[in-house]
Symmetry: C2
Subunit: 223 residues, 2 copies
Amino acid sequence: MENVKIIEIKKSVFENNDRAADELRGELKNRGVFLLNLMSSPGSGKTTTLIQTINRLKDKIRIAVMEADIDSDVDAIKIKEATGVESIQLHTGGMCHLDAEMTKQGLNNVSMEQADLVILENVGNLVCPAEFDTGAVKNAMILSVPEGHDKPLKYPLMFSICDVVVINKIDVLPYFDFDMEKCKEYIHMRNPKATVIPICAKTGEGVDVFAEWLLNEVSEWKR
Amino acid sequence: MENVKIIEIKKSVFENNDRAADELRGELKNRGVFLLNLMSSPGSGKTTTLIQTINRLKDKIRIAVMEADIDSDVDAIKIKEATGVESIQLHTGGMCHLDAEMTKQGLNNVSMEQADLVILENVGNLVCPAEFDTGAVKNAMILSVPEGHDKPLKYPLMFSICDVVVINKIDVLPYFDFDMEKCKEYIHMRNPKATVIPICAKTGEGVDVFAEWLLNEVSEWKR
């Protein structure tokens, strides 16, 4: 089994997170690195989606991954084994989100000069991560079909801050009462500009669309 | 459509949550009221499980429900319409959990003298609610099959504080890589005493077992 770097994240001492986030984005812009903040509930398929996406992009751009997790290191190992890209684990020690200062602690352990795109897999949680700007260039979230199409009504902030909403596990649509059109309508109630991309990370269906969205965003940022 | 009482929960000013929780439990014991704290990820089926469970118990004991939600009131209305029991909505205003003091704000709006069992449906989140004792007599959580059997590895605290883990959506087991035995093993790694109950809230399969567990706990508490 592969070994991955594990970083124990310390609680932020920085008072003004919004300023820290803007500073971090400025630094990323200067270095030509795009940071994507990927959020979702536990078990919605973040890691599988990442593996599929990275395997479609890794010959076109240089990618690194930071896996935030309360305790384990299974995700970082999985990503490294399945894609070969640099992958480190951030242990949050029970903290339910990452802010910009904590994200920076992680980035200090990534080979930034060798990356066009760094993906932060945030803690599985639809509430707290939405409240803290990580300094990412774009926010993405995954909603999976079994969670239900009403989630934008119940977790409004998360949906309002995300630039793209990936709807995963569309292969099980026949077995759940999930109304895709209603879901899109609710998402756009929260954020009219959000891009919605239905996928099945297990089979790869739709992942090309997400990969292309991401590639465009990275090119745009590095221009 | 039914109307339900909506309570805007204020942030706690109480410093020592563990003491507040113990005091609340003492008060509940004196009044003969059992409080169940029900937690899970978003979309794992808390509300449907509650409706099925309440409909099996409401002729045997008196039940009231407090639905915590960041914003909406759909769950409290759904419970009231489907079961007829008293159901109020607690708005947490973006807060990701309830502590004992916040739970008490909710209980002050429930007809406690007419209830044997009060169920608190906590905010959908596997991280923060686990960190705050609500004053409940027992903690229950729902893990749904689509979330995956590895969740006890990733959210250790939640599994370690729960007396019962309900595994919901077993009707879709054929469509997911979910290993029930591994899941039970992981849960018992975190909490050897946890009761594990597989159910399908949609069809009602297994709900009798959970209802019986709950009924026994309530009788025990009121003795």
